[in-house]
Subunit: 234 residues, 2 copies
DNA sequence: ACAAAAGTGTTCGGGATACACCCATGC
DNA sequence: GCATGGGTGTATCCCGAACACTTTTGT
């Protein structure tokens, strides 16, 4: 569809989408279809930018085109510009197939986001291959320097993470304090003391207890909490 | 010297160099020579990147070429890619004079650094115009979106600043606690309580008192301090 | 003597950390 | 009754914030 002159051959965006499933942190990857030469590799969703397109805009588009994801709050975090970043042998064949200038240097502006996996069941986009969630502890070798990009993104995510309103949106509307703690632990990768964690949460006054309890668990059922509504902040 | 084909027409780097002079925070700007059409404008040191050149490398080069500065620890902080960022009327003439493709879109990878002004007396580089320090409270209208870039850089600087070893290098080898406090205040733009500040500094154990005192001041002379040497960290 | 900045201690409150036992439910 | 996670309180330490008077020097 888009003509060559509408594409900037030197600049791309890549998106590192972290998904939380209630237990573990995952990353969204694109798995290329086997295009006949035994090329089957995973990579981050990303693409060359179009002319006239802002960077943020481009990242949104890419995510929509490759994984049918919309309304993800993307955060730009770093630009990767090693002149050899798309020059490894492992990537040569792919570039020759998909790029009109396979030897052209590409710098990439990288974005990350953290979403609730349940809200985003990635639709395999027929043309690009398949989008899939992969546990961050089991990330395979990726195309280009994408392993490195994921590492940097994870570091940023961890250092910037805090339990604000958007963080609570990663949980179901009613949740237990333990689920909340697991969210925190899954992202920061460090264990917390249960009592201290609960005291901290209570102090922050962002959530309130409901009358409901867990059902069908084979232990004492936990109380369910919810985010305080705007008005109840009186 | 460099031929056109060695330059990437779409990607530039820009450097926001903050300089501390003992009292105030300044920014390094390049003032173009008057090129005959009443064009006289200030901008950040920056340039299109060369092919085969890494981004960090490019930023170092630019700083050397435009302001004769070397060994500055640059930190990449954001990439600006609005498709219209180099399209304002005020910049048209300059682009036509200096760029072979004046209408080409340019995205820029921005870096910042904080240096001691005394160490870097910018050498006017004959070909580019004049490098000069400008107080951050008196920044004039700059070319392109450079005012915006400076604002973002300042925010990053302020939020990431801490009194570590490199921060102490912004002061003379022997300094008073008041000078240290002024440094902190100049950067974060907030006033601190003298006693609390001193307690905090003492706690951190990075510096030690010397026997020397200020001379020639018309008030009680302050004691001079220095950074602790590596060995004395026993 | 006066101006000008140097230097110094205490109190309070909040948050981080460490730590151990009883409780409610399903099976 | 037993296994499983739910739920709770106290003591300590460190840190940040607030706050006012005496000291030393040059003129």
């Amino acid at each position: 569809m888009s003509e060559l002159k509408d594409i900037n051959p030197n600049i791309s965006v890549d998106c590192v989408i972290f998904g939380f499933d209630g237990e573990r942190l995952n990353v969204l990857l694109i798995e290329e279809k086997d295009i006949g030469q035994g090329i089957l590799r995973k990579r981050l969703p990303g693409d060359l930018i179009h002319r006239g397109e802002g960077l943020d805009e481009s990242a949104d588009r890419v995510l929509w085109e490759l994984a049918s994801l919309k309304n993800v709050h993307l955060q730009q975090f770093h630009t990767f510009g090693d002149p050899l970043r798309v020059n490894a042998e492992k990537d040569r064949k792919w570039l020759e197939l998909y790029r009109s200038n396979p030897k052209e240097r590409v710098i990439t502006v990288a974005y990350y986001a953290l979403v609730k996996m349940a809200d985003f069941v990635p639709n395999p986009s027929s043309f690009a291959g398949e989008a899939l969630w992969v546990d961050i502890r089991e990330i395979p070798e990726l195309a280009f320097d994408h392993n490195c990009i994921v590492d940097v993104a994870l570091t940023k995510l961890q250092s910037h993470f805090e339990l604000n309103k958007t963080a609570y949106e990663l949980l179901p509307p009613r949740f237990t304090l333990n689920q909340l703690q697991q969210l925190h632990e899954a992202i920061t990768q460090e264990e917390l003391d249960k009592r201290n964690f609960r005291k901290k949460i209570v102090r922050e006054k962002m959530i309130e207890a409901t009358e409901e309890k867990q059902k069908g668990v084979l232990h004492k059922p936990a109380r369910l909490y919810r985010i305080k509504s705007e008005d109840s902040l009186a």
